[in-house]
Symmetry: C2
Subunit: 368 residues, 2 copies
């Protein structure tokens, strides 16, 4: 864990990939907004693509659209602030192969049968490496993706994690404006993206396979720590005994973990997506959390803190992005960094030089 | 753990406290350097005070002094980079009451008896709140502090954590230039400062008391995760049986923890500062780590990574510091932050506004 933080925080963006996908046609905010609130899925898809774009004119339209969405929410609450949330944002993570797609398919259809409208978003940490999307692929959830009451968004490709996070936060707002009251944000088992997802959702669910040393994997990555609910999947047939053991192991591992909120003790449930085992119980558990945290004011506070957290994070990320992508500053860093590594220069001396150059270039208006 | 990261990263500096202590007399780098390499403790103390200062002229002198220190190290290694380290930087943490002072006193005197020169530095997370220093107080280690072969530095008061970390990194270099081959960096049990200390030392030691639920405390704060060695202190008299239980508990807790380096499995030892129990064994363990990590090249790599890590961190911290302490930007944030909390503005919208203002003010040369 020692270097995870620094690697993430200061990862250099790749210059060769565009920051975000581009939109083929120009969209105007009022038209998109209109379609969005009417529950038009095509408008929702276009709106999310708009907030994902890094083009200046798209950014401006995206700001207009978001302002309308926030205004809508304000009016719905009688002119006051966000007040009590009326939607439920659920984070879901699990390693490849634990059956995330099957679970989302089964669980999503169950939620729809209970009268909910379900949106599935993805924070995909691997997209920037593979160039392709492994999450949010509609073919993974054939029945759910065809359903009128569901919207599945493929994860944005070729984006930095920071960018994905910003887009996902805004995509959640757009889905909520489109009438989706349950937002599932899925990600895959690598520490950083889990932390991000937990910081943009109300409830964090970890899906694990029975046996196979997964319980240690989870602990290692600090993901168990983030979890409000651990689901041991594939609890059917031959794997049922193993899943019972896994439930006990996770319950014991949770003893070593600080609670995210004193009002909730993380739970562990065996489930089977194929047989529908404990799917209603999973939803009951989540609802119990929602009711408890809403009435205690925790949900309201958590969302408020999440929003200000992201504000600071986005300020920080954008500022560092500007510094790292300015060519002369970048060149200076490339020269200084090996000297610092070798101990020929202190970290403080190098930091002073870099900052001096960056500020100088800002002053002369040379940094965009 | 959910918000710990953000709280730390974006903590606002208090405007009312000075960033660092001030020096009464002007010191010149060559004079200090001369005293330093002759092993003069008074010169070392003055040199550390100089690198801690935030005054522009002091900063310049500090840079000159550090350049001389780095040049000295380079010459000592035959003109090459840092090469193999010849000093050992040991981090030490423990909650108040576990007997840190007594341990450092006993352990430090033992190291001196083995022919070493020992410096004790402190990263004190509480100093900015209390205004006083709770670590590095010489009266806590009466015999060690009087010894010619030891130097104990009280923690700098009224500094931000970021500042403390920068200063401590440079203070370590100064101590090493002064001939101290073992640098103990002590801190107290609150997650953030432990992480910092582990990021500036070669080896991290956690001191715990027998029993009392401490083992859970440690896990909670992610400190066990950082530890290369856990010492169960006060393993004497009535507490001996309890300390044996604690050793087992920590050994079991360590199973859930990722290793910092595959070449080292964290160990647990019962010790008694008062009776000297396992003090030589503690040093033997540390030496085993040192030898293994040095011959594997891990020590060299770790120090290199630590230095570049701190370079990025200092760039980041300084940039955010400038943003946060610029009055109009600060006022804008004070207005926007509650709106973001209430959900009247997205975090991205607010971040854009703040950045725009900051860059504008830089361009016009209004930000110092």
């Amino acid at each position: 864990m020692r270097w995870q933080h620094s690697r993430h925080l200061f990862r250099l963006p790749s210059r060769s990939t565009p920051r975000c996908r581009h939109i083929s046609t120009a969209n105007s905010a009022p038209v998109l907004f209109d379609g969005l609130v009417k529950g038009n899925r095509h408008a929702l898809a276009k709106a999310i693509t708009l907030v994902e774009s890094s083009r200046a004119d798209h950014k401006q339209e995206a700001q207009r659209l978001l302002a309308m969405v926030l205004e809508l929410g304000k009016r719905a609450r009688g002119g006051k602030g966000s007040g009590l949330p009326t939607t439920f944002r659920i984070g879901l993570s699990g390693s490849p192969g634990v059956g995330k797609s099957s679970f989302i398919e089964t669980f999503g259809l169950y939620l729809i049968s209970q009268g909910h409208k379900v949106a599935v978003l993805a924070v995909d940490p691997s997209s920037s490496r593979t160039g392709g999307s492994i999450l949010g692929d509609k073919t993974r959830m054939p029945d759910l993706s065809r359903h009128d009451m569901a919207y599945i968004r493929p994860s944005p490709s070729s984006c930095t994690l920071g960018g994905v996070a910003r887009n996902t936060n805004e995509a959640i707002l757009l889905c909520e404006a489109g009438g989706y009251d349950i937002i599932l944000v899925e990600t895959v088992g690598v520490g950083q993206s889990e932390t991000m997802v937990s910081e943009m959702t109300d409830f964090f669910t970890l899906l694990v396979a029975p046996g196979g040393g997964d319980e240690l994997q989870g602990m290692k990555k600090g993901i168990v720590e983030l979890s409000d609910l651990i689901l041991v999947n594939k609890s059917d047939g031959d794997l049922e005994p193993a899943s019972r053991v896994a439930v006990m192991e996770y319950l014991s591992a949770l003893k070593f973990v600080t609670r995210n909120w004193e009002g909730w003790r993380p739970e562990v449930l065996p489930v089977s997506s194929h047989r529908g085992k404990n799917i209603p119980e999973t939803w009951e558990t989540m609802k119990r959390f929602y009711d408890a945290s809403e009435s205690a004011g925790e949900l309201y506070k958590r969302r408020g803190s999440q929003r200000t957290h992201w504000m600071w994070r986005q300020i920080n990320d954008e500022l560092m992005w500007r510094l790292k992508t300015d060519k002369p500053v970048r060149q200076m860093i490339n020269t200084l960094e090996p000297q610092v590594y070798e101990g020929l220069l202190t970290s403080g001396q190098a930091a002073d030089k870099v900052l001096h150059e960056f500020i100088d270039r800002q002053r002369s208006g040379l940094v965009k």
